[in-house]
């Protein structure tokens, strides 16, 4: 059986259960693909020994006939997840050499279900970035290219390594985290599916925090069905995370009926941005038609506070980050600067953090410190919180009108070239999140589904936004969109 690494989770699960392949076979196939893909710089800490040990254990469980769906499935794990005994650095130099003594709730649930860890995946430092260029490991590279143009493209960020690895079939699926679009944007840039669950659906315990009120982990997969299967294993209340919700986890895969007749799909007029590429506008229109053809009703809606979302996000997220990142002080773990004669604790903090944090992280820590400081708190942080409440209310209002899901573009463009934004105003980079941040601010589930390719041959995605806790319904809508779009393209292998 060739190309085991190219299987979806559902296909691999069925093959494993039928005895057509073993987890060790799958794992070896992925490891071979990983070895050949160093040009993508997706995996930054491969864990072959752990992978094979887990694969053998999974095979034993499968043979014993007690295998959950994720059993034996080789995955990549974003570096933001703490994995016991394995480097977990959030792609930052400040966590150099850090190997946690504990396993994040998400990874321990996945491994408990029999999933196999191939290694840790590249990302933007502390999940701050939209191009994977802020990583201390250097950027991951998008397996997609603009036709024959060899210009290296970004896989997006911050879960860029996860997206590149899944798109290039280095693993069957990967974990991601999404604070302002960090799952959905890279998924859209690489032609895969990325789901950000409702805030509180998945435990944050053991995930290195960026902005605690926005961070949420989710699956990055080749298909919507895979996202359903993988979310099933990740989700659920965790007593160690006070913000995780005591809400039952339904059978997500069983919800993929393909029947969305009578559902109401909202098209928010505020997402029609000025200067939006016509291809994206066209794709959005096509997406709506596909859902309409499947029996859904398309409704024009308004989310009036949308334009304030990005600025509010870039106040709230840095504010929380400035506090969350205070613990990286060189005292207990990670990097500590070499001190000069006479240096005291202040110099230790300053030098350690100046050396350990990259520029973008420093920028956000400074923004966050500023917006929380005396005299500016009300003007920035408090106002941003009020905006956030209004944005949440916008969504509540349309859901109250009977809207089941909202369709928007996932990104304002297809993948851009690495380095292209290097000299741009940081705000230009922040604009990548324009369609995705509202979902985080409102705590809603959102999914990016690959729906087409642009003229350059690059994948484009649409985003579906669901009601809180309605991932099952959202996945079903995404499933219909995926099926109608029939997106099957794969990047031409150049690496």
């Amino acid at each position: 059986m060739s190309g085991l690494n190219e299987l979806t989770i559902a296909e691999a699960r069925d093959a494993l259960r039928k005895g057509e392949a073993t987890s060790v076979d799958l794992t070896m196939a992925c490891m071979t693909a990983m070895d050949a893909a160093s040009a993508l710089n997706a995996f930054v800490h491969p864990t072959p020994e752990i992978a094979l040990e887990q694969a053998r254990a999974a095979d034993a469980r499968i043979q014993a006939g007690e295998a959950p769906a994720m059993c034996g499935i080789p995955l990549g794990i974003k570096d933001l997840f703490c994995t016991k005994g394995v480097p977990s650095q959030a792609a930052s130099a400040i966590l150099e050499g850090f190997k946690p003594e504990y396993e994040s709730t998400v990874t321990s649930r996945l491994f408990g279900a029999g999933a196999v860890m191939l290694g840790k995946l590249n990302m933007d430092e502390f999940a701050m970035g939209s191009s994977n260029e802020t990583s201390t490991y250097g950027n991951a590279v998008n397996p997609w290219r603009r036709g024959n143009d060899a210009t290296p493209l970004t896989p997006g960020g911050s879960s860029g390594g996860s997206a590149a690895a899944v798109a290039a079939d280095l693993c069957l699926a990967a974990t991601g985290t999404d604070t302002g679009g960090s799952i959905r944007q890279p998924a859209a840039f690489t032609g895969i599916v990325g789901l950000k669950p409702t805030y509180g659906r998945v435990s944050r315990w053991g995930i290195i925090a960026f902005a605690s009120s926005l961070d949420q982990a989710g699956p990055m997969t080749k298909t919507v069905r895979d996202a359903a299967i993988m979310l099933q294993a990740m989700a659920g209340e965790d007593p160690k995370d006070s913000t995780s919700a005591e809400i039952p986890v339904p059978d997500f895969e069983a919800a993929l009926t393909g029947d969305i007749r009578g559902k109401k799909i909202g098209i928010p007029k505020e997402y029609r941005m000025e200067g939006m590429p016509s291809e994206i506008e066209a794709l959005w229109h096509q997406g709506a038609e596909m859902l309409s053809d499947a029996g859904a009703e398309i409704v024009d809606i308004s989310l009036p506070h949308t334009k304030y979302a990005l600025p509010a996000y870039y106040v709230i997220a840095p504010a929380e980050a400035s506090s969350n990142l205070a613990r990286y002080d060189g005292v207990r773990y990670g990097h500590r600067a070499r001190l000069a004669q006479g240096d005291g604790i202040t110099e230790m903090y300053e030098k350690t953090r100046a050396e350990g944090f990259g520029k973008e992280v420093q920028r956000r820590v400074m923004i966050g410190t500023y917006v929380l400081s005396a005299g500016f708190y009300d003007a920035y942080y408090n106002r941003a919180r009020k905006v956030r409440a209004l944005i949440k209310k916008d969504f509540e209002d349309v859901f109250a009108q009977g809207i089941d899901a909202i369709l928007t573009p996932a990104t304002p463009s297809s993948a851009f070239g690495l380095g292209e934004m290097a000299d741009a105003d940081p705000v230009a980079m922040y604009l990548n999140d324009v369609f995705t941040v509202t979902v985080n601010l409102a705590g809603l589930p959102g999914i990016a589904v690959p729906t087409g390719v642009d003229q350059k041959g690059l994948p484009l995605g649409l985003q579906l936004i669901g009601r809180p806790w309605a991932e099952a319904d959202l996945l079903n809508h995404a499933h219909v969109l995926e099926r109608s779009a029939g997106f099957v393209s794969k990047p031409a292998k150049w690496w």
Partner: protein, 503 residues
């Protein structure tokens, strides 16, 4: 209802070089919550453990770790609030107070700035019988303690012990209602007593489990009254905060010093800088720690790792139903039920263990006599040896038995003291000791009469004197008691001596 009417004490007046001044004091008392586990982690709070042994991943602020509230600590805060007759906020929230220090691993302290769990309450601080200060409590909030930095173990290095990191504290904030150093110490003492009664803080000041930040300002007579009428702080002087005081004696001394320092500046035409000061007990002075300009910008904001803390009225009611009797109520009851003086009742209710001990002794007996024996004999003896009531070698049952023997007239008060000493040093059943050692009082009038006759016969000169001056009959009583080895019932001897002398 208890009669808790009282008069307010006079404020302390300090005579400056030029004029009179009054003191205005407000306090922030940090009380470590009595609990086995820390506020947001399961780590132990045991005192005296090896450095860095009571530390969880959460306490050490490892990446990705999250706080989870300890319900028992919340219950303790609610209990404390109820004990201070305070409003309980069914919805409160945690905020982060951000600053860098090596003993603060997270880089922030989780506290409750905007929405504390307990609102306004009060503490009645008695300064003399019928004279008490009502100190208003502004709020109580829950927060994490920091760890300990140790700078003097090595010339070049500092060490950090995280055992205390994350232990729950209640910050009890008073209004500026305290008017003198003695009142300040008495306030802390009263608060400590209530907390110990409630079992919400052990009050151990030496270990730092109860410590106070003291805000001191001075004003001219009359200004404080204007503040009280208007609640407008501009009538009061600029305050300085003296940090981290963990002794009542130092609190008093620091306030005295600080008041005089401020008065000297003001009388010199200067002005007080609002600042944080530290008290140096060796030099007996306060010194500036940081000025208002150097004050930290703590960048408080709601802690996004914790949902607002919502508790139910039924739960609060349940805690209220299980409240112990508090010092003021117990004292009033002791006075009413046992006929004790204000002073004796205060002494006996100072510590819950002592009050319990007394009640056991007094149960079914003469309350005043029981109080006398507990306070004068037992407390006196314990104090001499530096023992606490919990370490008393005499149990309440034993002391009660001694009181019973006196009450029945089996032994005299004098013999009872000897008996107490035997029980204190050797132990044993008081009744059996009295029996075995022939300490029983002689009530047989025949035997006493014989002794009286003998003393009268042997002292004819004294008889004459006593007949002239009946007050001297006491001499005969003493002689008879002496002759009977103290075992004769003094009342019986009195009566016989009077009769025989024809008085």
């Amino acid at each position: 209802m208890l009669d808790l009417t009282f008069e307010a004490p006079k404020p302390k007046v300090i005579q400056g070089a030029k004029s009179e001044w009054e003191l205005v004091i407000g306090m922030e008392v940090h009380a470590q919550v009595s609990s086995n586990a820390k506020l947001f982690s399961g780590a132990s709070t045991r005192f005296g453990a090896e450095p860095n042994s009571n530390v969880s991943f959460v306490d050490a602020a490892m990446p990705g770790m999250l706080p989870v509230i300890n319900e028992f600590c919340v219950e303790q805060a609610v209990r404390t609030g109820l004990g201070l007759k305070a409003a309980i906020n069914l919805r409160s929230a945690f905020d982060r107070k951000n600053y860098f220090y090596p003993d603060l691993p997270q880089g922030y302290q989780i506290s409750q700035l905007y929405h504390p769990i307990v609102g306004e309450g009060e503490v009645i601080v008695e300064m003399a019988p019928g004279v008490a200060r009502r100190v208003r409590i502004e709020r109580i909030h829950l927060e994490q303690d920091a760890g300990k930095s140790i700078h003097d173990m090595d010339p070049a290095m500092s060490f950090v012990d995280l055992n205390r990191t994350g232990v729950a504290l209640m910050e009890i904030v008073s209004r500026p209602d305290i008017r003198g150093p003695e009142e300040a110490a008495a306030y802390v003492g009263k608060l400590r007593q209530i907390l110990r009664y409630l079992g919400t803080c052990d009050g151990n000041m030496q270990n730092g489990n109860l410590r106070a930040d003291v805000n001191v300002s001075v004003c001219r007579p009359g200004a404080y009254e204007r503040y009280q009428e208007t609640q407008d702080f501009s009538h009061l002087g600029t305050r300085c905060e003296i940090k981290n005081m963990n002794s009542m004696r130092f609190i008093q001394a620091a306030i005295e010093y600080e008041a005089r320092r401020q008065i000297a500046i003001l009388e010199d035409g200067g002005k007080i800088d609002q600042e944080t000061r530290l008290y140096d007990p060796d030099k007996g002075e306060t010194r500036s720690m940081r000025s208002k300009e150097e004050a930290h910008d703590y960048r408080y904001f709601p802690c996004p790792d914790l949902l607002p803390l919502e508790i139910e009225q039924a739960w609060v009611d349940d805690i209220a139903d299980r409240m112990p009797e508090l010092p003021d109520a117990k004292k009033a009851r002791f006075m009413a039920d046992f006929g004790l003086t204000d002073y004796d009742a205060s002494v006996l209710t100072a510590e819950l263990d002592a009050a319990r001990f007394f009640e056991e002794v007094a149960k079914g007996r003469d309350g005043k006599m029981a109080a006398n024996w507990v306070i004068n004999e037992l407390f006196g003896r314990l104090k001499k040896e530096g023992h606490e009531i919990g370490e008393s070698p005499v149990s309440a049952a034993q002391l009660g038995a001694i009181v019973d023997l006196i009450g029945k007239g089996d032994i005299s008060g004098k013999i009872a003291k000897d008996l107490f000493e035997i029980v204190y040093t050797e132990g044993g059943d008081p009744a059996e000791i009295v029996e075995a050692r022939g300490m029983k009082q002689v009530t047989d009038t025949g035997a006493i009469e014989k002794a009286v006759d003998e003393v009268i016969a042997a002292n004819p000169a004294q008889v004459e004197k006593a007949k002239a001056n009946p007050k001297l009959a006491g001499w005969f009583v003493g002689q008879v008691l002496k002759a009977t080895g103290g075992k004769a019932n003094p009342a019986a001897v009195n009566e016989l001596v009077a009769r025989k002398l024809g008085l």
